[in-house]
């Protein structure tokens, strides 16, 4: 049974999108399949793993726990918007490469988006704070050690440059 369709207008990574969707469409599916931004990954669809984390109005949000219409009028950032347009990687991305902070890379976009918002709030975060901030994102490959190292490095680089 099809429900009444609704219009969603959002700005994603600085670009305007307008789509007509079913109200029940998950924001994660909207971003991935309607907008074709497949860098946001879906791991559990019940809000635990954090793989689908995006920023909505600069706050980290699990895209699988929002419906697309709830994003109407809001600004979204996804992994595709993290690097510079000229391809230059964000300091977080650089640090993850330098510290081998990813293996299969499936959970990585969600972690990077979570950490982008976290570092903005905690420019001098300690290891303990970083571990706590990461605890909502599951990674099954790395054991987190190199992720923590990468975030520490990013904190020092971003802190150092500001």
């Amino acid at each position: 049974m099809l429900e009444e369709l609704v219009t969603v207008s959002t700005v994603v990574n600085g670009k305007h999108y307008r789509r007509i969707v079913e109200p029940r469409l998950l924001l994660s599916d909207f971003i991935r399949h309607d907008l074709g931004l497949t860098g946001t990954h879906v791991g559990c669809e019940h809000g635990v793993c954090g793989a689908c984390t995006i920023l909505v109005d600069e706050k980290p949000v699990r895209a699988c726990l929002m419906f697309a219409p709830q994003a109407d009028g809001h600004a979204i950032e996804t992994i595709e918007g993290l690097a510079e347009e000229n391809g230059e990687l964000h300091p977080l991305q650089e640090a993850f490469r330098d510290k081998h902070g990813l293996q299969c890379g499936f959970c990585t976009p969600g972690i990077l988006m979570t950490m982008k918002a976290f570092i903005a709030q905690h420019p001098a975060a300690t290891e303990g704070e970083i571990r706590e901030a990461l605890s909502g994102n599951l990674c099954r490959c790395t054991g987190y050690q190199n992720i923590v190292e990468a975030v520490k490095l990013a904190v020092s680089r971003i802190g150092g440059s500001s």
Partner: protein
Amino acid sequence: MTAATNRYFGSPVLRNEDAPLLTGAAMFVDDIDFSDMLHVAFLRSPHAHARIEKIDTTATQKCDGVVAVFTADDLGAFWAPSPLVVPPPPIEDLVFNQRTQTPLARDVVRYVGEPVALVVAENRYLAEDALDRIVVDYDPLPVAAELEPSAQVDAPMVHDVRGNVAAEVRQVKGDYNLAKNNADVVIARRFLYEHGLAQPIETRGIVARWDTKAEHLSVWAATQTPTSLHGGLAQLMGLGSHQIRVVAPFVGGGFGSKLLMYYPEELMVPWAARELGSSLKWIEDRSEHFVATSQERGQIHDAEIAVSQDGKILGLKDVFLHDNGAYNPYGLTVPINSQCAVLGPYVVPAYDSSFKAIFTNKPIVAPFRGAGRQHGVFVIERLLDIAARQLGIDRVEIRRRNLIPSDAFPYKNGIMFQDFTELQYDSGNYLPILERTLEIIGYESFVRDEQPILRAEGKCVGIGVVCYVEGTGIGPYEGAKVQVDPSGRVHVATGIGTQGQSHFTSFAQIAADLLGVAVDEVDVTTGDTDQFGWGAGTFASRGAVVAGNAVHEACSAVREKILNLAAEHFECSSQQLSIENGAVQTLDRPDQSITIGELAVLANPMRGAVKPGTEPGLQATRYFGPEAGTTASGAHAMIVEVDRETMMVKILKYVVVHDCGTPINPMVVEGQIHGGVAQGIGNAFYEKVMYDDAGQIMNATLADYLIPTSMDVPVIELDHIETPSTMNPLGIKGVGEAGAIPVAPAFAQAVEDALGIAEGGSEILEIPLSPNRLWELAEGGTQ
């Protein structure tokens, strides 16, 4: 000819594959889209055991957006029990009752989650809506849920086998009874090992596209074994191998759960794509993953160790039950590994081990990182701890006294391993590993000084130290095709798939050294059968060992071709040439140089005659098949603190010293160990799949089945000891599973120590050890 340099091999080279993964550009299976894509959803059995009386899909056919509905009755000759993926090893008097699953259940369902029907619809939402309209009449049957009761002769039968016997295997060396008679002390215990789920963050998934005009099937699958899936689909769908391409794109973790099982979904989606002449996608959701993907769990060991007064092992006996789940497509890999792992790194003169694999109404049991080795390591390490206590010997000292000495290699164990060869340790040096581990964790000072002080302060702290070996790098073989392109870039293709193991870098390191290019000038393709169609896959810590050596051999052949062609070009001997910076130079005339890209063009002439036997291009394909696997080894140690009130365990310090032969990339090796230990901690501490008596899973979400977070995994201190393998030219041993294998016995030993086993506390004989369970044990132990 000058030797290749080792600029990259052995160095912590940053990864080639990171950029696409960090920017969201990397293609995973769910990222694939076609304009004509249709979506598949499976109807799964809600019963662990039931007869299917009737399936009515009439209402479903009329649902919005539904294109097709299929049940077993629609499959014709395609409906058949799937082939056996791994046959049982040729062990004398072995019993093996093969019962593999079918693409869709027809008459009987045997586990909760078994697929019964599938719906194809315009999108996934509509496909799932339509599932609700399928009406299935089930007649529930008695359920064989729990392992030990299912092994009774009068237990409900999962198949047509009394006592649900899937297999019976006995392996013996020496005379255990004699050893027992000569022993000063014999210790017998029952060990329970519940295992868990691999839970990669990306679930399984498959896209299949049938091109009617070309009569060609393309498949993209989150699989560890693309070449095997290719072969299996060709056979079962009656297609020529040229009519199928299977690609494993970027895969978000596997850990065993994405091995070829002939999972119903990996057969049905390609079949339905051909039937409909369309492109189909199925992506498993997490709820499905809990019931539809292989698990590894459930062994009960009744084990005995016979020791002399000075702590020497005289013999071991082990009789165990292995929970096989409802079907056995993966043969006996897991229980055979358990059987072999009990021997550990120790001299065991007599061993008598027998097991029964038991069918139960639960999902299939197949390898998950460690693949049964955890269970065996737990048994031997716990037995040694108990023996040490009884004999009044330090638990580290009893291990020292029994380790295989460094001059005893190759060490033959006298029983058969999962790869059908005799279990043989090719090389190793175990005592220095143990000593180094003790040094880093500070064993002596902790036990002598720190622990008594902390205890006096009321802190409940303990230490655990264990050893292990791991058979890795088994055959049969892998291959690689290496080619120099006119651009000067090198392309390496191999048949194995990649799920995060850094193959795009480690194989590039091997190639770059031999072919004189930079590591980022090497493009590696893994898991695309159009690029390379032969091989077995990524499992059993074998990718780097077997495929890595194949890459090495193919690159050596290409190197020879480059030098021979350049020698012709410069009219000199190839002995006078070197390859550096992507070009060949003559040693006496450094200004004289030709790039390997230019040589690739010369090697593919458009006109003129070539010598008989000439092969075009700078290309070679080579295979590597080791005679037998290679044995990695190591020791783990941890210090824990237990909160007596909550029974929460905090790991204060964790040390791993390991030997994986010559590491290709130490950064990658360390990452593999970190991840393995994290999975081992989850396994030891709280990962347990809970079933009720009716075979219903009780904790099928990631909020109920907990996997470790960044708050649970400590910093892991690592050290390497290198004993090169004698089984391959590069001297490498596998490392993928090592981190996960010995965590549980180290955890049990440390917690036991913290809770005061020496002062009469309870023995810990089971895994996992949730805070609840630890509380029960501390209160007097209910089994």
